[in-house]
């Protein structure tokens, strides 16, 4: 395949950055999208130019580190697929592909396509856990949890923290990310104990980080590689209102 690329280049977080044109011949359709970028970097290196910086690690869709906007879509054209699992067979011969970083106030660009998503860590730090120390746990089977509840908790827990939900949201809201953790933990009896303070602290932190509000466009669910449901956002709002009402 022969493809044209327009890629966001930005030296550092202070730089204004701009789109730059590249061309690649002999792209194999079975290459992954990131292997195509590897190939471009190899070509740049041969010309003595700086490689394009992009986030990636596991390349099997689970670590959540990769993620770019491809032709305006988070993680590209396929549904429920991370950037690393997208392959060049999803593009046309001769196509021009636009590649940009995920953009949000809370996700500053560090260099080229690399962004800073530590805001997500701070949202989790605010309460995205069950407060149990090593050694305190009771026998695992002493708390039966029905199969459907365990499965529903898993559905929410499957979030990989890639940030596509934020990138695709016109408000840059982190409601899907935050609500997925809230749902995961509140559905389980072990996690229900701290439900009220958890939801209040996590929502407050989400706001403090500069993420916007949710206005229910549901774009996040459409682009989520893990198919996390927007119903979690409804649950978060319910839990939040409940917690505010019952606050002492």
């Amino acid at each position: 395949m022969h493809i044209r690329l327009k890629i966001w280049r930005q030296e550092n977080s202070q730089d204004t950055g701009k789109m730059q044109d590249y061309e690649l011949a002999d792209v194999n359709p079975d290459m992954s999208f990131l292997e195509m970028l590897d190939m471009l970097n190899e070509q740049l290196l041969e010309q003595g130019q700086r490689a394009i910086e992009f986030d990636h690690d596991c390349r099997e869709g689970i670590c959540g580190q990769c993620g770019v906007m491809i032709n305006g879509r988070a993680h590209g054209p396929l549904k429920n697929t991370t950037t690393c699992q997208l392959h060049m067979r999803s593009f046309r011969e001769g196509e021009t592909i636009y590649i940009e970083p995920f953009r949000a106030t809370a996700f500053p660009v560090k260099c080229d396509l690399k962004i800073d998503r530590t805001a997500f860590d701070r949202v989790i730090q605010a309460g995205g856990y069950i407060s149990v120390n090593t050694g305190q746990a009771p026998e695992a089977n002493s708390i039966p949890i029905g199969h459907p509840v365990a499965e529903a908790a898993f559905d929410a827990a499957a979030c990989i923290g890639c940030g596509a939900c934020v990138a695709v949201c016109k408000n840059s809201s982190a409601a899907l990310f935050t609500s997925a953790k809230i749902t995961h933990l509140v559905l389980l009896p072990q996690g229900a104990v701290e439900a009220q303070q958890r939801v209040r602290h996590m929502v407050d932190q989400m706001d403090a980080e500069g993420f916007g509000h949710c206005s229910n466009t549901e774009a996040c669910e459409a682009e989520c590689p893990q198919q996390i449901s927007v119903l979690h956002i409804a649950r978060m709002n319910w839990e939040y209102n409940k917690a505010q009402l019952l606050k002492k």
Binding site: M31, N41, D57, C63, Y129, N141, G146
Partner: protein, 636 residues
């Protein structure tokens, strides 16, 4: 002489006895003691969180942008624990025996027994953290069986067990960060270990965002940096996984044990072209329901579904009827390689075998299979474009796990006092072959239940030691060495990328120090690696500056791989027997099974660094078996 410090007494009392007599640090003193943890996967996050909870002052480092990305996240199938919930005869001794047999009797009895003994508590801990393990309709935890065992002791969270366990540990860690007991340094890579008067006192790290070289001091340093299987370039590991932390610690005096013992996982996706950067793993759990076969006819050109039953060779069921498709990984991988090399491989490059679910779908219904493995089937379809509900998967062996690693004693302490290695970074529990679902277990048990005790036993003698002075000449020297190396690499000014050298090295190792090894090939590999290393220092090119620069990161890691790779070949060459994943073609039975030599090789090889281009020092820790009798490992 290496002293593993194994406690006296009967096997089942050793750990209890150790805990009863280990020294303690009182809570008031803990807050004066600083501990550095490098790596935030399961072992790193769990020890950092546990130490924070206990009141120590902890600094946690990872090269990823957040601890949750560490490669433990990618483990799919499950975690073993002998809860005996299935009432199928499981117990600590059986789990110990399965593990030590699975490792081909090349691990320490006491360590392996402790792993089995602590396994049940891990499930309790994870459930309390909210890890959503698979459950039965009555609400109780479910299990599946895994390769190399005949009981069901594997707990799982769909095909994302590693992710869920890591998130549990990550959340525990984030809680401690919030409480201020752990300071987190993401995007920091350890580039050297600092020792003062023979004790580990700190590390030199590079901030990967700013390029700044930083010094961090502590009373003890814990490495939990995972394995180095990425040395093969094509592997199931993440792109960033590396062996630099352990290699640089090795150069500061820590011994590395059995570095050539690499697990080649049987169920990975095959390579499809030269551009490929990674071989994606398909969980071993698939072998519970999938049947592995190749056509009976060489160069079969019919599509898999058109090959009738009588023309299929279910070679694992044929060769190993007792364990069949659930044979251990080393055996399954070697059997696949044997068929592929004999010309029965399938796929465009004839480098794969089939993993077929048609019988399981017929017996159990497609819904049941979907519930168990849907994420894996979807992943398979994304990568290959093939629907495995309708057509068999194509799988192939790929480098996966380092059984070798830093030599540690029973306390998980390396040969440097105050320097500990946990999880895959150490060599301790898996012998020459790791059983499936034991890696998550070992990482967690090391971090949650072992190191908190053994570290206290060390730190109890350090309570009068003041905070480490990071302006000590040892820090100056280490920081200078790190900066010099970065400038050296930057200044080579050749033409070739770090990836070029990494891929070339990977190919040498796959061919000559992979699934099968021979003396001649290993000697040749050593010569080739030496030449490649020379070429690296003459022809490497790193564009860009000293701040964010992934080419610079890669170059440093490849520089270390080029030395570690040579040691791996040396280790494989000197072990003149076949055991577990280490298969020397000279030592095999007429049926092609591994021939172990307990008389001459029942020991651990622990290598010491002596300097560049010099032979390493060979230390041997004898393996004595008091409680089990090593047998020929048969899965027939």
């Amino acid at each position: 002489m290496l002293d593993a410090k194994i406690p006296e007494g009967p096997l089942e009392d050793k750990w209890r006895h150790y805990k009863e007599h280990a020294k303690l640090v009182n809570p008031a003193n803990r807050k004066k003691l600083e501990v550095i943890v490098v790596g935030t996967g399961l072992a790193g996050s769990s020890i950092a969180a546990s130490l924070g909870e206990m009141g120590y002052r902890v600094k946690a480092f990872c090269f990823q942008d957040t601890p949750r990305r560490a490669h433990s996240v990618a483990a799919q199938g499950g975690v073993n624990a002998c809860k005996n919930y299935k009432n199928d005869g499981d117990n600590v001794f059986r789990m110990f025996y399965d593990t030590i047999k699975g490792g081909d009797f090349r691990a320490r009895e006491a360590n392996v027994y402790r792993l089995a003994e602590c396994s049940a508590s891990l499930i309790d801990q994870a459930v309390a953290q909210g890890v959503p393990f698979g459950r039965e309709y009555g609400g109780y935890l479910n299990n599946r069986s895994f390769g190399g065992v005949q009981v069901s002791r594997t707990f799982y969270a769909r095909g994302q067990t590693g992710q869920q366990l890591l998130l549990g540990a990550y959340q525990a860690l984030m809680r401690q960060v919030h409480l201020g007991s752990v300071q987190l340094f993401a995007r920091h890579e350890m580039l050297d270990l600092v020792t003062i008067d023979g004790k580990a006192k700190g590390i030199i790290v590079r901030n990967l965002d700013t390029g700044e070289i930083e010094r961090h001091g502590a009373h003890a340093v814990i490495l939990a940096t995972g394995g180095f299987g990425k040395i093969y370039y094509l592997s199931t590991l993440a792109m960033g996984c590396n062996g630099s932390a352990i290699w640089r610690a090795h150069k500061k005096g820590a011994l590395i044990a059995n570095p050539s013992w690499t697990q080649i996982h049987p169920t990975s996706l095959p390579q499809s072209g030269e551009y490929q950067s990674k071989l994606t793993l398909m969980s071993e759990s698939l072998r519970n329901d999938g049947r592995i076969w190749v056509p009976k006819k060489e160069k079969e050109d019919r599509l898999p579904n058109q090959v009738p039953e009588e023309d299929r060779d279910y070679y694992l069921e044929r060769r190993y009827p007792a364990f069949g498709n659930l044979s251990p990984r080393d055996i399954a991988s070697r059997a696949a390689k044997e068929r592929i090399d004999a010309g029965y491989g399938v796929g465009p490059l004839k480098n794969a075998v089939y993993l077929d679910f048609s019988k399981a779908i017929k017996d159990q219904g497609v819904d049941k299979i979907r519930e168990k493995y849907d994420n894996l089937f979807r992943m398979y379809e994304k990568i290959t474009g093939v629907d495995a509900y309708k057509e068999p998967m194509k799988i192939s062996p790929a480098a996966h796990f380092s059984m070798g690693g830093l030599w540690v004693d029973y306390e998980l302490m390396t040969t440097i006092p105050g320097f500990f290695a946990l999880g895959e970074a150490n060599f301790a529990d898996h012998g020459a072959n790791r059983l499936g679902a034991n890696s998550l277990l070992q990482a967690c048990v090391d971090g949650y239940f072992i190191a908190p005790y053994t570290l206290a036993n060390y730190l109890a003698d350090e309570i009068r030691t003041p905070a480490t002075d990071i302006h000590h000449p040892a820090f100056d020297a280490a920081a200078k060495q790190v900066e010099d190396q970065l400038h050296l690499l930057k200044g080579i000014g050749g033409k070739l990328s770090a990836d070029y050298f990494h891929k070339t090295l990977g190919k040498i190792l796959y061919d000559k120090c992979g699934l099968s090894r021979a003396a001649e090939g290993l000697e040749q590999a050593i010569r080739e690696i030496k030449a490649l290393r020379q070429q690296f220092y003459a022809d490497l090119f790193i564009p860009g500056g000293l701040a964010i620069n992934s080419e610079l990161e890669k170059a440093g890691r490849v520089a270390d791989y080029l030395e570690l790779g040579e040691l791996m070949c040396h280790d494989a060459l000197t072990r003149e027997e076949s055991c577990g994943a280490h298969f020397r073609v000279e030592y095999q039975t007429p049926e092609g099974e591994a021939m172990r030599n307990d008389k001459d090789f029942a020991f651990i090889s622990a290598w010491g660094w002596t300097g560049e281009n010099q032979s390493p020092v060979w230390n041997k820790e004898p393996l004595t078996f008091e409680f089990v009798t090593p047998t020929v490992r048969s899965y027939k």
